[in-house]
């Protein structure tokens, strides 16, 4: 998951305060409620289903975490920028929201646990016969979500904390940042009409390909990006509680089962 509000980063950078140690943990214990934030428009991880309820991989993981903690789960869906800007001031306890860890985000948020890996892929129009591998995007117009890690990848500046070094077999890409849904619609207009290709995560690409039926994925996985659970900065006790719960859910197969339910594959397995 992969959007950033530069504005909000600026806001939050202005005022850097940290939660008191132990504050979140004691609030969750006191209220017996886990306030989780997630994204409402990122199927199959978080979306509003046919019964107008929040559903998806992230919702099931949140439910498993709340069950394990023995508390009630309360979900909210504020804008991505308001989540990733940090400084939650007790509004929310946890973000199980497909966030990828970046250095900017690490300044205002803690990442107590990694819970799945999302592969990045290259998508082109089915009629495209010019782009056969990632090396062929040199000089082409490539769409990415604004502020996403895919944008950094095309800028050749992506760093994954603790991850494999990434290779960039392309140069002079014309990067077109924008809304991912709009990007996919533009690519479906035809090869090179508005875009030549898109870099996005595999699950998003698959959903869009099913919907548009005019797109395809080119050659394998570009790199794998960790997705982490985020908490407000500065409560180590809460962080170790969360890390412990995720460890248990991995060990007893709960995460793997949730992953198979939503993605037909276990994307939670790989350890950092």
């Amino acid at each position: 998951m992969s959007r950033t509000g530069m504005l909000l980063i600026a806001f939050s950078a202005l005022l850097a305060t940290a939660a008191w140690a132990g504050e979140t943990l004691s609030r969750v214990k006191r209220t017996q409620v886990l306030q989780d934030v997630l994204v409402d428009d990122y199927p199959p991880f978080g979306f509003i289903d046919n019964h107008n309820q929040l559903a998806g991989f992230d919702v099931d993981v949140a439910q498993a975490v709340a069950r394990r903690l023995g508390v009630k789960l309360k979900l909210s869906t504020p804008g991505w920028e308001t989540i990733s800007a940090g400084h939650w001031h007790g509004r929310w306890d946890i973000c199980i929201c497909s966030m990828s860890p970046t250095q900017d985000r690490a300044r205002v948020l803690d990442f107590p646990a990694q819970y799945y890996l999302s592969p990045a892929v290259l998508v082109v129009h089915t009629r495209d016969n010019r782009i056969r591998s990632i090396a062929d995007i040199s000089g082409k117009r490539v769409g990415v979500g604004t502020g996403s890690s895919y944008e950094s990848y095309l800028h050749r500046t992506l760093q994954i904390p603790g991850g494999q070094p990434i290779t960039y077999p392309f140069h002079d890409v014309v990067i077109i940042p924008g809304d991912e849904t709009v990007n996919f619609r533009n690519l479906a207009l035809g090869p090179g009409v508005r875009l030549d290709a898109i870099v996005s995560d595999l699950a998003t690409a698959r959903g869009q390909i099913r919907a548009a039926n005019a797109l395809r994925i080119v050659s394998g996985i570009l790199y794998s990006e960790p997705n982490v659970i985020a908490t407000d900065k500065g409560d180590p006790e809460w962080n170790s509680t969360v890390a412990g719960v995720i460890g248990q859910l991995k060990a007893d197969g709960t995460l793997a089962a949730i992953s198979k339910k939503w993605l037909d594959a276990d994307i939670t397995h790989d350890e950092r």
Binding site: L8, L14, F47, N52, L54, K74, T77, P78, H89, T181
Partner: protein, 270 residues
């Protein structure tokens, strides 16, 4: 002027305006036809978009929530605008300063920035407001600043002689304002104020950044989850449009009411 001269042409006029609307509406429908919209999907989501059910958190959602936010903000904006307008016209330099400063800040910065500032920056000084409160506060403060200018212009446009004459007749000050100045000012205030409320209805979609499940939020969310992008955008647009039309009808009624005696042809414009 004869009754026929006033009402005869008006009936034809209104009919012809209506016919023109029907032609344009059909043209719009023809434009949308080639998009191959999945109307079944739009129909299935309509009750949620309109807000006939409560959201999972037990609060209002959809268009009903948009209307709720707009209605609360309208009332608050009026409450903010009146003293601001008085301040703008005040001879007291501090009152004038406060009113002009407030109006300048809130008219001179983007509404989205104000929404986010209230939601994200106020907690830094210990004021933690919910999404709904923040949204209503931002909309009220923003539109209050515009409305204050509208009210000021309306009041200033009433000739000074009206007030002087009323005072000379020995009417008390509050009665002069209430019975002489206000009705004449309202005639000029209502059209632009109505336009501002229509635009506020649409700006209420900005509160979606704080996770309120209002009309625009649901439309975007359904659109992305189901890949029925155009269906949801057009449905939301249609609902906003219908609500705006209702606002405009109310505004037209008010305009007619306060336009009595000022402009004999005023009614024809409707």
């Amino acid at each position: 002027m004869s009754v026929e001269a006033r009402f005869g042409p008006q009936r034809h006029f209104a009919r012809n305006v209506g016919l023109t609307w029907i032609v344009l509406l059909s043209a719009l429908a023809c434009l949308l036809y080639p998009l191959h919209l999945d109307l079944g999907y739009a129909w299935q989501k309509l009750p949620y978009l309109v807000g006939l059910h409560l959201a999972p958190d037990g609060f209002l959602q959809g268009a009903v929530l948009s209307l709720f936010v707009t209605a609360c903000s309208m009332v608050l904006a009026l409450l903010v605008a009146l003293p601001t307008a008085l301040g703008r016209m005040s001879a007291n330099p501090v009152a004038r300063g406060i009113a002009t400063f407030y109006a300048s800040v809130f008219r001179g910065t983007p509404l989205l920035v104000q929404v986010l500032f209230i939601y994200l920056a106020l907690p830094q000084v210990g004021i933690i407001l919910g999404g709904l409160t923040s949204g209503i506060l931002a909309l009220s403060l923003n539109y209050g600043a515009y409305l204050a200018e509208t009210i000021r212009v309306g009041v200033m446009s009433v000739p000074q002689g009206q007030r002087e004459a009323a005072l000379a007749l020995g009417l008390p000050r509050w009665r002069v304002s209430w019975k002489i100045v206000m009705p004449q000012a309202l005639r000029l205030i209502i059209p632009p104020a109505g336009a501002q409320f229509v635009s506020m209805l649409k700006d209420s979609s900005l509160v979606s950044v704080m996770g309120l499940w209002e009309l625009n939020f649901l439309a975007q969310s359904y659109a992305r989850a189901s890949y029925h992008y155009m269906e949801m955008l057009i449905s939301a647009a249609a609902i906003y449009w219908l609500m705006s039309i209702c606002f405009e009808l109310v505004q037209a009624r008010l305009e007619r009411r306060f336009g009595r005696g000022a402009d004999p042809f005023g009614a024809i414009h409707n």
